[in-house]
């Protein structure tokens, strides 16, 4: 696996040894392609950790009323169900928003590697902290007006996709639907149209033909009050 988005991301936090890189890569199996709108994981108890290698997926929960809330996007290189938190986390599903390439890892073997390799231990710890940090920022982002909330999400995606070389300086391919984004922002499927139009007419964002363009990244960041520190890409600790 050359240009592995998982390792690329981990190495933002930790310099892995050759052994550690090899050990992690040897852990993956069952590579498959899932069509859009299919669940990657439904919260059943298994020893599997899922690693998305390409495509866009999301962690989500559907309320009895049918409302879906996307609580985070899953980008290439992201792990799902890394920890088994018991019954507590199992109501959360992971679904492919676009066709996704996915591999599995054995959780028990991953835990074994964490015990054996300090670099892997530190890297997985970083992934966990990062998830928590991002979840916290999403809660805070819900407090912003909807247009700034969308601006913040797009700033986040730009940074995260740049790390895995899936975004250039001013934009990225974004083949998800507006409804997906509305469900990630917690706004109605009608209101997302207005919010997008507002950012478009301000010249801050263009989103067409599945491509997002941000002509003035600093301008959008200022508008969104976006500070990428919470994404922890500058590593962690002293």
């Amino acid at each position: 696996m050359i240009e592995d988005p998982f390792l690329r991301k981990l190495e933002r936090a930790v310099q892995l040894s050759e052994d550690e890189r090899y050990a992690l890569q040897s852990l993956t199996f069952n590579r498959r392609t899932l069509p859009a709108r299919h669940d990657i994981a439904t919260g059943d108890v298994t020893d599997r950790v899922y690693l998305v290698m390409s495509g866009f997926a999301c962690r989500y929960k559907t309320l009895p009323s049918g409302n879906r809330r996307i609580v985070s996007f899953v980008l290439p290189g992201d792990l799902c169900y890394m920890h088994d938190a018991g019954a507590f986390g199992r109501d959360l599903r992971v679904g492919a928003l676009t066709p996704c390439s996915v591999v599995d890892l054995s959780r028990s073997k991953l835990v074994e590697l964490i015990g054996l390799h300090p670099g892997i231990s530190r890297a997985i710890w970083w992934v966990t902290l990062r998830e928590l940090s991002r979840a916290r920022e999403w809660i805070v982002n819900d407090t912003r007006p909807a247009d700034r909330r969308l601006a913040h999400l797009l700033c986040e995606l730009l940074v995260c996709l740049q790390v895995i070389q899936q975004a250039d300086e001013h934009g990225f391919e974004f083949p998800v639907t507006q409804v997906d984004v509305a469900d990630a922002l917690g706004i109605s499927h009608v209101h997302i149209n207005r919010v997008l139009q507002s950012l478009r007419s301000s010249g801050l964002v263009a989103w067409s033909s599945q491509h997002v363009t941000i002509p003035d990244v600093d301008g959008l960041r200022a508008y969104a009050e976006f500070d990428p520190a919470y994404l922890c890409f500058e590593g962690f600790g002293p």
Partner: protein, 88 residues
Amino acid sequence: MDNITLQPVQIASLCADTDGRIAFADGKLVAVLVRLSEELHGADGRAGQWCVEVGFGACDVGVLSVRFDGLDAARRWIAERMAMATTD
């Protein structure tokens, strides 16, 4: 059944969705309806529909986009919600 009235109103939404109705049940404000514009919602096939932008009490819809093809349907929905609230 409650007496449902819909009063035309212009909404300063800063976008093309400006045509609205404020809905009263027995004289009390229960919802604000917005007519979805061609400019913003034509591509979704929703232009011309009436959407519950905000509802109060029995008409609270959260972030759901509850929509109707016409105002009569909206009026019936409000009446049903009010009736359900009083029989609960």
